[in-house]
Amino acid sequence: MSRADLPALTIADLQSRLRRKEISPRNVLESVRARIDAVESKIDAYLSIDFEAALKEAEKADVDLPLGGVPIAVKDIINVIGQPCTCGSKILGNYRSPYDATVIKKLRAAGAIPFGKTNMDEFAMGSSTENSSVKVTRNPWDLSRVPGGSSGGSAAAVAADAAFGGLGTDTGGSIRQPASLCGIVGVKPSYGRVSRFGVTAFASSLDQVGPLTKTVRDSAMIMNAMAGHDPYDSTSLPDAVPDYTKNLGRDLKGMRLGLPKEYMIEGIDLQVRSAVDAAIKQLQSLGAEIVDVTLPHTDYGIAVYYFLATAEASANLARFDGVRYGYRAKDPKDLLDHYGRTRGEGFGQEVKRRIILGTYVLSSGYYDAYYVRAQKVRELIRQDFVKAFEKVDAIVSPTSPVPAFKLGERTADPLAMYLADVFTNTGNLAGICGISVPCGLAKVNGSQLPIGLQVLGKSLDEARIFQIANAYEQSTDWHKQRPKI
């Protein structure tokens, strides 16, 4: 294999070659660097890269560790010591992390090398990565289209072979939706499964860190290293972490998969629908039984999500006050002027819009009508899943109702952008786990655009959704399709 072909490898392949000493961690890092040099001007996936620090780590990498010598791209909302952590925002333009997030500590302990920070919607607020204050990332399958978001930088980098794997965060679909739009695998772990310590908070009751990779096995490997209890995150679950690769390669005999009738809505793209229908037939041929289920409160998900997520964001983003870190407005005349201008000048438009909505739903006179009511409907959405999982082992659906849309197509209409998360946000509200796996290519105006299949599982049932997604993936060729870039 030539050096130029290295970046196309999966993490599992890369690891076995590293262990056989066919290649060195240094070769691996240099090959990624060359690939980034070749494609970055087209996709603009990265915000910062530190090869010098990464090369030093590669020199002493222990390839016998679970991810020994594997370079990992990191969404720029996760703190990596000594690196910038802009969250895609001007307000953190000069920020440098003085510490590692727990997920980074755990990945380093498993031998992985975090080498670069990827672009994102500002503070993870968006579904297209167009809300980044720095630059616009483009979809490697069609450079006139969005990569999805908010973890669009990690998704585009992995899809273009400019990273072996990446980290994202998923608050309403921000890992699964860009994975779907870029033709790769993306995982939202169960709430509490992965530590949030060192990850800038957007909506604390919904946020989870997860992997974006070329295959299901690669995601399972990263989750093995990253999941588990963290005393620094009080919402982190104490349950033991199973080996997520243990069910890979098994068939689906006896597996009961639920098909929610609420997910086959009007407005779903016809090519997405037929790809998902074909995937369901494929799952049946692998031994799964398909069962109709109902999630009657699905239609309220987006409304609940935008009240709760913005309310939590308005509180979380109060920390950006220009005192301890970040941008501060010039020559404030008093404290109110200091706060108002620092935040008004530092935040981008979508972040401001959500802070206003969140402050409003929490304000006196509206709190019960909006915030408390949304929390109650959230509970009904959670109960929908509890009831469905009494009948089935997992639920299947499209990840996104449409393939990648055009740059600029939805930016003028926030509501249209919010609806991009219609199939994913309820998983966050219910705290369950989900994965997106490639299941087809739509043909749109001469472009081929990836389609994703979502598999949702019970809380802490990641091993099962990995098994289902892996069985499907390995019985099809969709994961082998790569963009020509």
Partner: protein, 96 residues
């Protein structure tokens, strides 16, 4: 549920300590009215017998041992401060 038209973006921006331009105020007023109108569908749901859920996985009274451990030095804590002196954060004057 309150009417969408109750939203006064100018007033809320003061609560949020977030200065907006006139153009942003007008734009958000219209866009958020659309979002609130969309969200009116929540009024249809019977929530009379439902407890509000702040978290999908409720956890209470999470403790860890109260033991000292290494953390930031003063230099590290101040490393991103927009204005600092004598190992202190310098803030905007808050008293007359």
């Amino acid at each position: 549920m309150a009417k969408a038209t109750d939203l006064d973006v100018g007033y809320v921006s003061k609560l949020a300590r977030l200065n907006l331009s006139d153009e942003e105020t007008r734009l958000f007023q219209k866009q958020l009215a659309d979002v609130l109108k969309y969200a009116e569908k929540l009024r249809e749901v019977d929530v009379s017998r439902v407890e509000a859920a702040a978290h999908a996985v409720p956890m209470f009274n999470v403790f860890r041992e109260d033991e000292p451990h290494p953390w930031f030095t003063a230099e590290e804590a101040l490393s991103n401060a927009p204005h600092k002196a004598n190992q202190l954060f310098i803030v905007t004057k808050v008293v007359e």
